[in-house]
C-alpha cells in the first residue's frame, strides 16, 4: 500500500501523470485537499469515491479545464499550470477525455463527430486518410454501422463508445474516463469495462478512470485510489484497498458491491 502523503519521485520516463499536493476550492467548498497520485505508463488507475465528491475536478485539472488553487500536476513530463495555450493544446492532443455525458456534438452525425477533431488538428491528413481513421476507430469500438446516425439516435452505451472513439481517433497516450459506466445497465457496463481494457492494450494508453462503480473498478483497475473527503485515503490493488477496517472504505464496499 502506498501512503498518499508521500509523493513518488518523478521519473518522466515511467510516469504518465504525477499529481503533488493538489488543492481546489469552489467558493466555500474545498473539493481537493492535498491530493497526491502517480499513474505509471500503461497503467489503469481507478479513482473511486462517492458521487459529487469532486473526483471529476481532478481530471479536469489534469487537462487544464480547471485551474488548481495550489499544487502541481505533471502530465507526460510537462507541468500543466506553466504551459502556454499552444503548449497546452499540444499536450491535450496526447490526452483523451471521455465525458460522463459523452458530450457528442449533437448537430453532427457520428462520422462528422469523429472527423471533427482530425480536421481541426491534423490539417495535413487527406480525406482518404480521415475516412480510414474513422472506419478503424469505429471498428475498434464495434459501432461501424452507426456512422451515419445522429447522436440522439444512439443508446447511452453507444454514445459512451462513440465518445471514447472520438478521443481515440487522435491516438492519445493517456485516457481520462469520467464515470464511464454511470447510468448504464450491467450488461452495457460490462461491455464498456471490456472496451476500457481493450483500449489499454490496443492503444497502449495510461488511464485514470473516475467512477463510483465497484464492478468497473474491479474489472479495469491495475490500482485503485480511494477518494474520501478531498484526498486519497488508500491506494493500491483492489483487494488491498478494501482489506481495511476503515469504516468509510468498508461501507463503500458493503453498500455498493457485495453486501
Amino acid at each position: 500500500m502506498e501512503n498518499q502523503n508521500i509523493p513518488h519521485v518523478i521519473s518522466h520516463d515511467e510516469q504518465a501523470i504525477v499529481i503533488k499536493d493538489l488543492y481546489k476550492s469552489f467558493d466555500d467548498l474545498e473539493v481537493l485537499k492535498g491530493v497526491n497520485l502517480t499513474v505509471d505508463k500503461g497503467e489503469n488507475v481507478v479513482v473511486l469515491g462517492k458521487s459529487g465528491s469532486g473526483k471529476s475536478v481532478l481530471i479536469k485539472i489534469i487537462v487544464g479545464l480547471l485551474k488548481a488553487d495550489r499544487g502541481e500536476v505533471t502530465v507526460l513530463g510537462q507541468q500543466v499550470a506553466t504551459l502556454t495555450d499552444k503548449e497546452l493544446n499540444a499536450l491535450r492532443l496526447r490526452v483523451g477525455f471521455s465525458f460522463q455525458s459523452s458530450a457528442l456534438y449533437d448537430s453532427m452525425n457520428i462520422r462528422q463527430n469523429l472527423e471533427f477533431p482530425l480536421k481541426m488538428n491534423r490539417k495535413t491528413m487527406s480525406r482518404r486518410e480521415i475516412i480510414k481513421a474513422v472506419d478503424e476507430v469505429l471498428e475498434d469500438v464495434g459501432l461501424r454501422d452507426k456512422m451515419n446516425q445522429m447522436p440522439s439516435d444512439l443508446s447511452g452505451g453507444q454514445r459512451k463508445r462513440i465518445g471514447i472513439a472520438r478521443t481515440l481517433i487522435l491516438r492519445p497516450e493517456i485516457m481520462l474516463y469520467d464515470e464511464p459506466t454511470a447510468g448504464l445497465d450491467p450488461i452495457t457496463s460490462y461491455e464498456i469495462n471490456k472496451l476500457i481494457n481493450e483500449v489499454q492494450q490496443l492503444y497502449n494508453t495510461s488511464s485514470i478512470i473516475i467512477t463510483h462503480d465497484l464492478t468497473c473498478a474491479k474489472e479495469t483497475a491495475d490500482r485503485v485510489a480511494m477518494f474520501v473527503e478531498g484526498r486519497f485515503t488508500r491506494i493500491g490493488k483492489f483487494e488491498e484497498v478494501f482489506n481495511t477496517d476503515d469504516e468509510q472504505v468498508r461501507s463503500f464496499y458493503n453498500y455498493n458491491f457485495i453486501q
Binding site: 479545464l65 491535450r92 477525455f97 458530450a103 457528442l104 471533427f116 477533431p117 488538428n121 472520438r166
Partner: protein, 264 residues
Amino acid sequence: MINIRTKKYVISKVLDAFFISVNRAYLFVIQFFKQVLVPPFHFSEIVNQCFEIGLRALSLITLTGFIIGIVFTKQSRPSLEDFGATSWLPSLIGIAIVKALGPLVTALICAGKVGSGIGAELGSMRVTEQIDAMEVSAINPFKYLVVTRVTATMITIPILSFYCIVVGLLGSYVNVRAEEATSFIAFFQSAFSTLHFLDLSTSVVKALIFGFTIGIVGSYKGFYATKGTQGVGKAANQAVVMAMFLIFIEEVVIVQVSNWIRYF
C-alpha cells in the same frame, strides 16, 4: 493554506458579482477582436452560419418589412393631405425606412430569432459539456463557435437590413399605387431623392453594429450558461433582452453622432 471561509468582498457580494460580470463581458469582446483577424478563419462555418441566420429570419423580415411599408404609408397619408403635401409621401417613407425602420426592425427581429438561437445553442453546448469536449480536443471553442457566429451576424444583418428596406418600400409602393397613379421608377426616385450618402452609410454602419451586438450578446450569454436546461432558457431569454436594450441605446447614439457629422 488560505482559509477561503474568511474571504472578504471588495464592496458587497452583489456589486462584486456585477463588476466581475462587466469585466468578463469586456474581456469577451476584446477576445473577439483579438481572434477575428488571426487564422484559422473557419470560412465554411461562417458561410454555414450566414445561411442559418438568413434562413431563420428571412420570412419574418419579409412579412414585417412589407406590413411596415403599408401601415406607415397609410398612417402618414392623412397628415400629409392636411398640408397638401402627399407628393412628399415617398420621400417621407424613404427617410423613415432607410434611416431608421429598416435596420432597427431587422435588428429587433434578429435579436429575437437569431440572438436567442445562438444563446440557446451555445448554452446547450456548454451544459452538455460539448464546449469542454472541443477544448480538450485542442480545438479553440471561442474561435470556432463565437467568432464564426459574430462574423456571420455582422455579414448577414446588413444584408437582411437592405432586404427589409427594399421590401418595406415595395409595401409602401403597393399602398401608394392603390391610391394614385405613380410609376414604380418615379416612386423609388422620389423615395431616394432626399437621402444622402451619409444617410445610407449610417444605415449600413448601424446594421453592422446591430449585427455585432446580436452575435456577441447571444454568444456571451450562451458561452457562460450554467445550471442545466434552466440555464439554457435563461441564456436565450437574456440574449434577447440584453441585445434589444443595447440596440435601442446604439440607435440613439448613432443618430446623434450622424447628426453631429451632418452639421460639422
